[in-house]
Symmetry: D2
Subunit: 314 residues, 4 copies
């Protein structure tokens, strides 16, 4: 019997409203540190065009690392599989290793979803232009995916990230020393911090992810990426989308997902649903605590884990 | 239009017979070094009970690390989720890190499919008994899964592994120092090398994997593991099943799989197929070169990647 | 004005008797864990043949890693500078790195004073014989250096070390995998643990170290090693003799020294003194806390730091 | 019989003039890459005020990392032993580890002679001023030590270093993220690259090092640093002065020394000599190949190794 998604999202939002251990809000910039941890939102865009939302599904939040999915999609459109000469496709082990391996592996980051890899993707997306040109391109892409031109960058977040992001400056310069960042690190990071500072709601984010559930097609019928590319981006989200807790997320939830330190997670069930959850409190690994719990419940109730036999008729 | 699997397996076997770059056969023990690299086999057991096989599908080979899937299943049956206090669920980064992280993470291996993790699983499976008791249990489990009591251990392989496996002795003693190996390292490794030396054909291996495509059920109707456990074992195979090329396998093939240095790969398409391929030549990362290529073709032609929308009616 | 060493050793022993923070006694085997931390001994053998001792200078203790100095001397006598193809001469960074670097550097330990390096030295000293033959040789060497045939091995310590030394078994097997341990790891470690279990008093240890202050000569006039070799062993003691606190010991004390977890330190002032101190409580880095403090006072009072201009007439 | 230093320096210079394997000149900036590798110079300032020089002893070269000795001396004058809360005193293991350890050890570099440590020292020396003020201070200190006001910075070298030093920018920002660099990384590195670009001849460098052989005194009778501080700087030079070949230098030469990629080495024999050698070709570890050989010969012929008994009357 198919699950009633309206009921289920409401039920999950209610359960999360009462959760006690909500994790710690990110503290490294004041704009994130000040977000109220009591919030939770969920939105599900289904393959047949319906939308189910509950909780704070219309409140905007900083998508942060979730932007790496859209930036990767754009960069693959620019340079195709040549990107993989500059970025790997393997889980990173952990944060600590990402630096070691950068040295061991001559400035080639392990995957496009750790910071080092996303900085190389930004270097590709910059493409000789000024940061604002490349930022404009990313925003237009998100507008196209969602059909919502109101989505914008939170400039205060971008400014704070830029002012305190010493590790990212270190990473960019380190890769520049290996020739794997080709533009000025300052310009590349200008693009990077603005892309991370895009503000979206769960509803908007679920809309933006639809092409990944639809084998690369836009719901309007246009093709965003080839089926193979959509499939491979989903694979990267599963193996690398939750930092050093990616294996655990695959184990518990079983759905490709990408998290951000703003507390959002975008999760893709191929052929079925594009899901966004948001709650600002984080686990130690830096992923939304309630967001992960909500997706675990959702996967169990719907049978949407990609590691189970597909259910009929849901 | 559904793919004709009889035609497809024959076609893949023919293509692989003519492949030029077959990789390097494992050389660390004479029993593996002497295997003829010109061989290739494929067998597919489908959810509806059919079997498709081609090439050297009935030739026995050493399953090696593929045995870790069956050993993990048994250990979870013994101690349940307590196992995860002693073994992690994250990809390991790489071989090099697996040692570093063992020290950093106080003797807790990253996952049950790297050698260190599989040795802890063997420690659990030993359970205070003599190695031959625990080996007998694993063999009986494989007999039950396949319905084939002729499957046996290649004692020459086990003896060679035992005589030269200094790294495994090092790992076992290292974890013993942290208290995460509890029996004598010698006994634990006795079990470990015998389990790795099980000899099976592609056809037998595809039969053995059916419970993982059937949500944990045996084709005879009995339950081997719960649906959730089957799903989670599949997730571990996807994120950790190909050593430090697991991300790449997910990216290119998109199907949970576990490889062994004997050249075999077991791959599971939930709800559809349990697949075994075998060809002895390996990539640098230690996975079957032609086996990986065959699965990539198979996934593309069938649409079986778990990262694509499920196809209808195949 | 020359320092009165009789007064100074008495003064230091008195100061140390009243010390409050004595560090933690090694706990990994009961024979060490049970030693009374309230003890302190000091003995100085001078180049002109005098001996000054105070405190518990005649109480025997387990020399542990200090034995690596004598074992290295013997191994250099057997294979000369070929030893340096199998062991490096650089400080190790830290314990953690000693494992990483063993993998990175293909089983070649950084220096002969970390455990991995000392195990290779034992492999050389074993030389195809049974452990007891090689142990006998080391004991005879110590008897010759001290003129005291009563020095013996504490068999209870050796047995305990052998029964619990899983990390050393791991290291030996790991290097065996690289071919840098050539005998059976079991036999090599048999030699290693017995050598570490030699029991000596401060007085005996100071006598044993005299050849290193005397440019390689025995006080009886015979030559133990060449002047160049004595000098180079002293250099290794300075750069590598205190594990990951070697730099700090050089900085504070400025005298080549080798410590052991039994709480002893052998320190060599070329041309002037062979010094042994002992107090069982250890720093976090595993070196005798009061022993280090005593040597710091001694160096300051005598001007014996090798980094100062040599004083006249002391 | 005392060695005739005039003869010995001439003899060494002649031997080095004919050396075939001179190593590779540093290539990372054009100003260093263009230096003629056929050059070799040596200068010895003795404690009794004599100077012996031979070869290209009056040719200026970029002192590079040798400047870290003078910068450390100044920083200790400013903040005293508080410096050691921000920089360690242990050898670094190797280049690779210096990054790992920076993360492991929360942004505290292992010692003041690796780049990361020297950048912290520059942060201290900057002391809230503009780089040119702090640079002026270092230059004045060198003028005072040598009595030679003509010593200056090679601005072309400083400019090239600044334009290509992405790794140093990475290190500075990385430590800034931990709060262990407190000024703007750009200003700190401005000071750092200028200090490294000081140009001196062997004769000038030997003069500059005299305070370290004279227990902290200037030859004019003034005190530069306390005896204890001079001793401890010498100890750091011995344990950390030649990057990851410090142990080997101690082993072969046995004299505290600090090398630079310009091909210079400053070596200190306490109470006897301040020595400068220079030859631009480097070993793989980044130290002057002929410079090291020259010092090895010098130490053997003079008996100046600090690990040998002091010779009488030389």
């Amino acid at each position: 019997m198919p699950v009633d998604l309206a009921e289920l999202t409401a039920e999950i939002a209610a359960a999360m409203a009462g959760a006690e251990d909500r994790g710690q809000v990110a503290r490294y910039i004041p704009e994130l540190a000040g977000v109220d941890p009591a919030q939770f939102g969920i939105a599900i865009a289904t393959a047949d065009g319906r939308m189910f939302a509950a909780g704070d599904a219309d409140t905007g939040f900083s998508i942060q690392s979730i932007s790496k999915v859209f930036a990767l999609t754009l960069a693959l459109g620019k340079v195709g599989d040549q990107l993989w000469e500059r970025v790997g496709r393997e889980p990173s082990g952990n944060a600590f290793n990402s630096i070691v391996q950068l040295e061991q592996e001559h400035g080639i980051p392990r995957n496009p979803f750790i910071n080092a890899g996303a900085i190389v993707v930004s270097d590709v997306n910059l493409g000789g232009h000024q940061p604002r040109v490349a930022i404009g391109e990313i925003l237009r892409f998100v507008h196209y995916l969602t059909g919502d031109d109101s989505i914008a960058i939170d400039e205060a977040v971008a400014a704070s990230e830029g002012a305190t992001g010493y590790r990212n400056i270190a990473l960019a310069n380190y890769m520049r020393a290996f020739g794997n960042v080709r533009h000025s690190p300052e310009l590349v990071l200008g693009l990077y911090v603005h892309q991370c500072a895009i503000e979206m709601s769960c509803r908007q984010l679920a809309l933006a992810g639809r092409y990944l559930m639809l084998d690369g097609r836009h719901p309007d019928g246009g093709r965003v990426v080839s089926p193979g590319r959509a499939r491979r981006i989903n694979a990267l989200m599963l193996t690398c989308g939750h930092y050093d807790a990616s294996g655990d997320f695959a184990f518990r939830v079983g759905i490709p997902g990408k998290s951000g330190v703003g507390g959002g997670i975008l999760a893709i069930v191929p052929g079925r649903a594009s899901i966004a959850v948001w709650s600002p409190g984080l686990t130690e690994a830096g992923n939304s605590r309630l967001g992960g719990q909500a997706l675990e419940i959702l996967a169990r109730r719907t049978g949407w884990s990609i590691f189970s036999p597909p259910e009929e008729g849901d």
